[in-house]
């Protein structure tokens, strides 16, 4: 029924630039839950612009649905601008922590090798346990769980995803694309972002 080609659902990275306001997280979250869509990952952080926060949200959906969600988020009073990208368009990372008994690691050289191969770094070393950290894609952090499971993995946690767009002129390009379908000229914010093009690449 629409101009969007019928494609399979895939992971999309939604980036929303917002003011920092109590209750906004809920206002954004219910736009997904209203359509019974599960948020797979959500991260909020400051952006490079003073007073402006950014949400990184990951969902698995079709582009048609994602584009409508993006607009409905952007419609909220305290949201400046919303973009969405496939995984191919972004550089993304997730961080994971693993708690493993120290004696096992000390005894088994093979563990040390596996940790090295998986790019893990020790964050805390105590007599009873050691905490390792890795940063990477989902498969990489998942893989280390499997690796450490036989050695008595005590606790595992993974962070939300953070993502930055790949294209260096991405912001301007994206903006033009949005202007085709989106109305606002984004007066002050875009000028600000454009002037920082070298730093800010989305």
């Amino acid at each position: 029924m629409s101009q969007f080609p019928t494609i399979d659902r895939q992971e999309y990275n939604i980036t929303a630039y917002t003011e920092n306001q109590v209750g906004l997280l809920n206002r954004i979250a219910i736009i997904f839950s209203r359509r019974k869509i599960n948020i797979e990952s959500l991260n909020t952080s400051p952006s490079e612009i003073e007073g402006i926060h950014r949400f990184n949200i990951v969902i698995t959906e079709t582009e048609e649905v994602v584009s409508k969600l993006a607009r409905q988020i952007e419609k909220q009073v305290e949201v400046l601008k919303v973009y969405y990208n496939t995984n191919a368009d972004v550089i993304w990372q997730e961080m994971a922590l693993y708690k493993v008994p120290t004696d096992v690691i000390a005894e088994k050289a093979s563990v040390e090798r596996l940790l090295r191969e998986n790019g893990a770094r020790a964050v805390v070393i105590r007599k009873d346990y050691t905490v390792f950290e890795t940063t990477g894609h989902r498969e990489e952090t998942d893989n280390l769980i499997k690796v450490l499971q036989p050695y008595g993995l005590i606790e595992f946690v993974r962070s939300a995803r953070i993502a930055i767009i790949k294209a260096s002129d991405g912001f301007n390009h994206k903006l033009r694309e949005f202007e085709r379908r989106e109305p606002s000229e984004d007066v002050s914010e875009n000028e600000f972002l454009n002037s920082r093009d070298a730093v800010f690449t989305m």
């Binding site: 029924m1 629409s2 101009q3 917002t18 003011e19 109590v22 209750g23 809920n26 206002r27 219910i30 209203r34 007073g51 584009s67 409508k68 607009r71 409905q72 952007e74 419609k75 009073v77 305290e78 949201v79 400046l80 202007e179 379908r181 989106e182 109305p183 606002s184 000229e185 984004d186 002050s188």
Partner: protein, 592 residues
């Protein structure tokens, strides 16, 4: 005051805290107002003259301050907060101004939820102020504490909780700005009791004109207007659909100029009704499930569809994948979220239609499309023969809803504000009522809120006191908010009430008849004697059962100086036709 433009002049602040002696330069300015008094002064500064409300524990400080504002602010004491918010909606829809509601915390606030949802989906500007428990009690399950901010987040355009008096000016300034700007909507401001009581220094009030993250009106893009005009100029069967956006944008004149120059037949959604007079030659009728035959059928034959300030609701489009597939779609809307939401736009023209329509009018060629108009007239003739004649001029013994509206039209000549509830009577009233003026058809469109009409009619009369207001309500809906007869009694507001009484929940019964093998499951609702009920509220009334009583009763009602109720017994099992059955395309509209 006709406009809702905020004025910067503050009324004499009603200071409840005596000014402290002159402070030294280092100390903060002395408090000169409580939060509660500031709220009322800000309402005056925003041009508010009427508040619909109901007091309670957590909003007592505001009501205490209101005691001293009786001369400047007309507070209408309703009988239930839902009645209050529907009244504010009626006020806003009739006047074009922001409706204001007061309610207390807990149940007072939760009773607003239906009205907020209704106002959000029908784009009605409201500012609702709720009391809240003391800030130090938030989250403790205090008496009458409820998390109204989170409850109302999905049904407000914006909401905010104030916990300190100093926040009040900015919060309310934003509330009014957000409620009335762009696509209007309801805003809720929750004010804790301590913030209402707190004395603070209220220097001056500046209405809000800008929010960093908020662009209420999109910038007009001339290239799309040129593309749209090119499509219109090449079109052989262009068709305009207009909605409430024309009314909300106060663009009735610009809209009329556009269709008169382009000669394009135009049909309306129920919230758009009246933006163009009913008898205007280019007005071809109503869209949607119970709309007119021609506009529905010809939606699937037009070559260019021009949607103006409407959102392609599913009750308008029927089955989407069979909706206007042949047409190029030009969509004018102030809300970018609506573009491509349901129907993909060939050319999106975002912007305030009061701004975009004149630009478009300048680019379109004058045309008349006589053959295309004839198609609409032919379909109308078919509908008149199959449906309308029997409805408006029935020969059977039983009264029809349509003939009541027809008789009312004769007497009011299209000058009245018609407020309808939800159901069969609503569809009949919207189809057959004559409107000479904009802001004359007030109904619950998107949400379909039964119980809307009686309180909304009260509000409409306060919003447009110079106009006659007639509420048309079913025997189901009237029982949902019938307590507002008490508001009529106490305020003496002049609202004419017509109950189209078919002793059924008629629309559900119609569906049960047509689609559920006449299994009439819990639709045989009983009514009290409405004339007796009204008389208990000192409202005169009359029951009408026979055709010869109808016209005299309507005349008596309209001539009566004050509210009057007519309980009109209409046929029990009439169905509303035409009808686009659910899951069917608009072209499959049934005449019987």
């Amino acid at each position: 005051m006709l406009t809702n433009e905020p004025t910067t002049a503050l009324a004499e602040p009603e200071t409840t805290v005596s000014a402290a002696p002159a402070a030294t330069e280092e100390t903060a300015p002395a408090p000169n107002s409580t939060g509660a008094t500031a709220v009322l002064n800000i309402l005056l500064a925003e041009g508010v003259d009427t508040i619909f409300g109901y007091p309670g524990g957590a909003i007592i400080p505001i009501y205490d301050a209101l005691y001293d504002f009786k001369e400047q602010l007309n507070h209408v004491l309703v009988r239930h907060e839902q009645g209050g918010i529907h009244a504010a909606q009626g006020y806003a829809r009739a006047s074009g101004r922001v409706g204001v509601v007061f309610a207390t915390s807990g149940p007072g606030a939760t009773n607003l939820v239906t009205g907020l949802a209704d106002a959000l989906i029908d784009s009605t500007p409201l500012v609702c102020i709720t009391g809240q428990v003391f800030a130090h009690l938030l989250g403790t399950d205090a008496f009458q504490e409820t998390d109204i901010i989170n409850i109302t987040t999905p049904v407000t355009k914006w909401n905010y909780q104030v916990t300190k008096a100093e926040e009040i000016p900015e919060a309310l300034a934003k509330a009014f700005y957000i409620a009335r700007s762009g696509r209007p909507g309801p805003v809720l401001i929750d004010i804790t009791k301590n913030a209402q009581q707190q004395a603070f220094h209220f220097a001056s009030y500046a209405p809000c004109t800008h929010i960093r993250s908020y662009r209420p009106v999109p910038i007009v893009r001339p290239e799309y207007l040129r593309e749209a005009a090119a499509l219109i100029n090449q079109a052989r069967r262009p068709f305009v659909l207009w909605g409430q956006g024309v009314v909300l944008g106060a663009a009735e004149r610009e809209f009329k100029a556009f269709i008169e120059k382009s000669g394009i037949p135009a049909a309306w959604t129920i919230l758009g009704a009246g933006a163009l007079p009913t008898d205007h030659p280019l007005n071809v009728g109503m869209l949607g499930m119970h709309g007119n035959y021609g506009p529905n059928v010809l939606t699937n034959e037009c070559d260019v569809l021009i949607a103006i300030g409407m959102r392609f609701d599913d009750r308008v489009t029927g089955r989407l994948d069979k909706y206007a597939r042949q047409a190029k779609v030009i969509h004018l809307d102030i809300d970018p979220t609506e573009i491509d939401k349901n129907v993909a736009a060939t050319v999106p023209v975002w912007g305030d239609c009061r701004e975009t329509l004149p630009l478009l009018t300048a680019l379109v060629e004058p045309k008349t499309h006589p053959e295309w108009h004839q198609r609409f007239r032919d379909h109308m003739a078919e509908e008149v023969a199959a449906v309308i004649n029997d409805e408006l001029f029935p020969t059977g013994e039983e009264l029809t809803m349509g003939e009541v509206i027809q008789q009312l039209n004769e007497l009011t000549q299209g000058e009245a504000i018609i407020v309808t509830d939800v159901g069969q009577h609503q569809m009949v009233a919207c189809r057959y009522a004559r409107f000479n003026h904009t802001r004359s058809n007030i109904t619950s469109g998107g949400l379909g809120t039964m119980g809307f009409a009686l309180p909304a009619a009260i509000g409409a009369k306060f919003g447009a006191p110079q106009r006659p207001v007639v509420a048309i309500i079913g025997d189901g809906g009237v029982q949902m908010t019938i307590q507002e007869l008490g508001t009529i009694m106490q305020t003496g507001v002049d609202v004419k009430i017509i109950i189209l009484n078919n002793r059924f929940l008629g629309m559900v019964r119609q569906w049960q008849e047509l689609f559920h093998t006449r299994r009439y499951s819990f639709v045989d609702i009983q009514s009290p004697d409405y004339v007796t009920v009204a008389s208990g509220y000192r409202i005169p009334g009359q029951r009408v059962e026979a055709r010869e009583e109808l016209q005299p009763a309507l005349q008596k009602m309209l001539a009566h100086p004050g509210s009057f109720l007519l309980d009109i017994m209409v046929a029990k099992e009439n169905n509303i036709f035409p009808m686009v059955p659910q899951g069917c395309s608009v072209a499959e509209i049934r005449l019987k």
